[in-house]
Amino acid sequence: MLGYVLRRLAVTVLLLVVTSFIVFAMLHVAPGSPLEVLTGGRRLSDTTLRALSARYALDKPFLAQYWLWLTNVVQGDFGESIAARQSIGSLLASRAPVTLQLGVLASVIAIVFGVGAGTVAAMRRGRLPDTLISGGVIGLAAVPAYLSGLLMILVFSVLLGWFPVFGAGEGVADRLHHLVLPACALGFSLCALVARVTRATMVDVLGREYVEAARVRGMSERHVIGRHAIRNALGPIITVSGLAAAYLITGTVLVEVVFGINGLGALLIQGVLGKDFAVVQAVAIVFTSIFLLITLLVDVLYFAVDPRTAVGVRGEA
């Protein structure tokens, strides 16, 4: 088990390096230079341009720039944002919490509603609730989060006045109040995935002999579902929930912009628009790390829930 985790960690680090290189290379190939964005189309004197290039190491060849960046990051220095003129470490630190909170809240919404809806649909398979739930979640999934976000602002903030239009709020209650709408916009988009997988797994499990046996022995339906069915269906549900969470935490980009939440997603957009290499790099690394970490966590959790998978793990290790 430990060997497996260590090996997974090594792969994670390798993936991070590869990702960072790809991002760096793509930004380089894209038209325009950070200096052009920095100067906003104005022409600066050659002396000034040279000074700026040297300060941000833009005068060095591509690989040298990448190497410089990599060695700095290993030492914990993400560099300086060209556009914001400040250290990226502090930019990340000030923006990461709200993105994580938003992602976690959205995941909770996706998982609670998804698993709940999927379970109910499986129990009422083929009947009206099943049809309504299955159709409903697919409808929700069909609307992109930024559009449903705008619609939610329109209905719940502008017309009804229940929620604030933008921002992240201060303090626990206020923060929650601010994050409900964006988290719903985000979470509902993945509800369908979780619900579909839950429903399929539950339908499968509910048809198994041990469930029939439990029912025959006169156990209450609550007991049957809660103790026998769900536990056995948990594997696929954990997998899909983990993937959903990983996707949601790293997928806050558009929703952050719509709801005026200045987290990592908004920072990423600014970085891309400004060709702020170092910022895009840093956010990409953070998002990739989160994604890989969650998938790792899911694998470990899967093992804890279903020790049978340990055989495979041991076999691998």
């Binding site: 052009e36 022409r43 600066l44 004197s45 502008v158 933008f166």
Partner: protein, 553 residues
């Protein structure tokens, strides 16, 4: 060094603030629920009456984050709109754009090569220190330092020395005469920061953790990166006549246009300078928000690539044909909600802040670009334009450019010319326009939509962009008369009328040769919650300490 070397303009910056906005607008979502018939309202007031009531907090919407609290980088609308409330400059502009003294109680020209500013005494910085000539010299000299890379550096190109004559006098000595610097002393180029902070903070000056220390009516309080900048009333402000009814100003960064409009509607945002002319109509329908307008100083125009030899628009008749074929009034309605003016010169009358009679007489004499399809077709035929095709580029960062481009395309079609319209990202657009400013390839365009506003109310800066040596000359226009007159005018430091007489000759060359012609001059738009008043819409808001003018109604 030529005066135009590296002279900056706001042209690029007009586009800049919306760069982060264009990606996510779900076209007119709010307009739909407000039942607005946008594009028909031209009746807006220019100022809302203030009731003088104290206001604890004003929340202002910014579409993008300020770049820095360092005035050397305050050359975009967002940074300027915040920082001018915190920093005083040596001079200031009246709402109409007239040049007035500010931290300098008077300014004196010694010949045409020296400017002497005499400072007010007893002016306090936010940290309690007294303003002296040492602070002014330290602040201005930063623009001369190439390692710092001040965005205003180009304006100091002709400055030989900045020195203190005693405790309250500062002298700027020029290598060669240059009229513009005096005006720029009313912008953030003339802003004064405490020398103690300059020495202590070094390159960290203006970043969110350090902020800035000036003498303005408000002091920097905090800057939560990506979220908001907060400023608070400074109780020992030297200029007693500024009302300062507002205690705190919070500048909230809202990248999405629709979100900003929704926040205006719910009252979570009190106002913004950056609502477009197209959205102004829907904002008026909100009921709780006033839309104030003022004539702008710049233009939205069609620029022609004169570098491209033998192109379809190489003949001036072709350029004029397109002008007479374009329904400019219709374009103004579609692109900027009708808020603006149809003008026959690139510089609208609102920018005549001096020598008005001279500019007025010259303007009346300019050829009118009236919509006249018969004339347009005749000219197109004579220029051999009919049946040709060309490429029009614009920046997708400017929301008004898409309808504008379609309007010009329709005009071209009516005289038998096919225009391929291409929207480019802002970076790509400027790269094309500037023919590869940083060594990249560019310049494969025939027509471009150009948005331009001068840094202060003055026609000359606009025409100076057309001199053959100007780096801002994207059209590649080259005209000996214009070059000569502009160079002469720039040296006319003390005689405004003489400068104006040179400038109108340059204006005439541009109006006759049409390297660029104006579609319209967009009005400045200010939206303000009706609980606030006392402030006028002004095109130079980004150089004026406006927050202190607001009060409760």
């Amino acid at each position: 060094m030529n005066i135009n070397e590296a002279r900056l303009s706001r042209r690029a910056l007009l586009a800049r603030g919306t760069a982060g906005v264009g990606i996510l607008t779900a076209g007119g979502l709010l307009a739909a629920c407000g039942n607005s018939d946008s594009g028909s309202t031209l009746t807006s007031a220019t100022s809302a009456a203030g009731g003088g009531k104290p206001v604890p907090l004003v929340t202002w919407g910014l579409p993008a984050e300020p770049v820095s609290m360092d005035p050397a980088f305050a050359y975009d609308f967002e940074t300027g709109a915040v920082l001018t409330n915190v920093l005083d400059s040596l001079m200031r502009f009246s709402p109409r754009g007239d040049l007035l003294p500010s931290l300098a109680e008077r300014v004196e020209e010694r010949g045409d090569r020296a400017l002497v500013f005499t400072l007010h005494r007893g002016v306090r910085f936010h940290d309690g220190g007294e303003l002296t000539s040492a602070d002014v010299v330290a602040s201005l000299q930063r623009h001369l330092d190439p390692a710092l890379g001040s965005y205003f550096g180009g304006y100091f190109a002709n400055v030989a020395e900045i020195r203190a004559n005693g405790r309250y006098e500062v002298e700027i000595v020029f290598r060669q005469p240059d009229y513009a610097l005096k005006y720029m002393m009313a912008t953030m180029a003339g802003a004064v920061v405490s020398k103690r902070l300059i020495d202590r903070a070094g390159r960290k000056l203006g970043d969110p953790t350090v902020g800035v220390v000036g003498t303005g009516p408000y002091r920097f309080a905090s800057w939560a990166s990506g979220r908001e900048v907060v400023i608070e009333r400074f109780d020992h402000y030297w200029e007693r006549s500024v009302p300062r009814a507002v205690r705190r100003g919070v500048f909230t960064i809202l990248g999405d246009t629709q979100t900003l409009l929704a926040a205006l509607r719910t009252g979570e945002i009190d106002g913004s300078f950056r609502v477009t002319g197209r959205d102004a109509g829907s904002v008026e329908q909100f009921g709780n928000v006033n839309v104030l307008t003022a004539p702008g100083l710049g233009y939205e125009g069609v620029a022609f690539n004169m570098r491209k030899q033998g192109g379809p628009f190489a003949d001036v008749k072709a350029r004029r044909a397109l002008l007479h074929a374009t329904d400019r009034r219709g374009v103004l309605r579609a692109a900027w909600g009708g808020h603006g003016e149809i003008v026959d010169a690139l510089v609208p009358p609102a920018a005549w802040s001096y020598a008005r009679p001279i500019y007025e007489a010259a303007y009346a004499d300019l050829p009118a670009g009236t919509l006249d399809l018969d004339l347009a077709r005749r000219l197109a035929e004579e220029a051999g334009l009919t049946g040709k095709s060309a490429q029009l580029i614009y920046s997708s960062g400017n929301p008004q450019d898409e309808p504008t481009a379609l309007g010009v395309q329709a005009a071209a079609a009516s005289i038998g010319v096919r225009l391929d319209v291409r929207a480019l990202s802002q970076t790509q657009f400027f790269n094309q326009l500037n023919q590869g400013a940083t060594g990249r390839k560019g310049g494969d365009w025939d027509l471009a939509l150009a948005l331009w506003a001068p840094d202060f109310a003055d026609p000359l800066t606009t025409y100076a962009q057309f001199t053959s040596s100007s780096p801002a000359n994207s059209t590649g226009f080259s005209n000996a008369v214009l070059d000569r007159e502009v160079a002469k005018a720039i040296g006319e430091v003390t005689d405004d009328d003489a400068r104006a007489r040179d400038a109108v000759v340059a204006q005439r060359q541009v109006a006759d040769e049409l390297p660029t012609w104006p579609l319209f001059s967009p009005a400045t738009i200010l939206v303000l919650n009706d609980r606030l008043g006392g402030m006028a819409a002004t095109p130079l808001y980004y150089w004026s300490a406006w927050l202190g003018e607001l009060s409760g109604t």
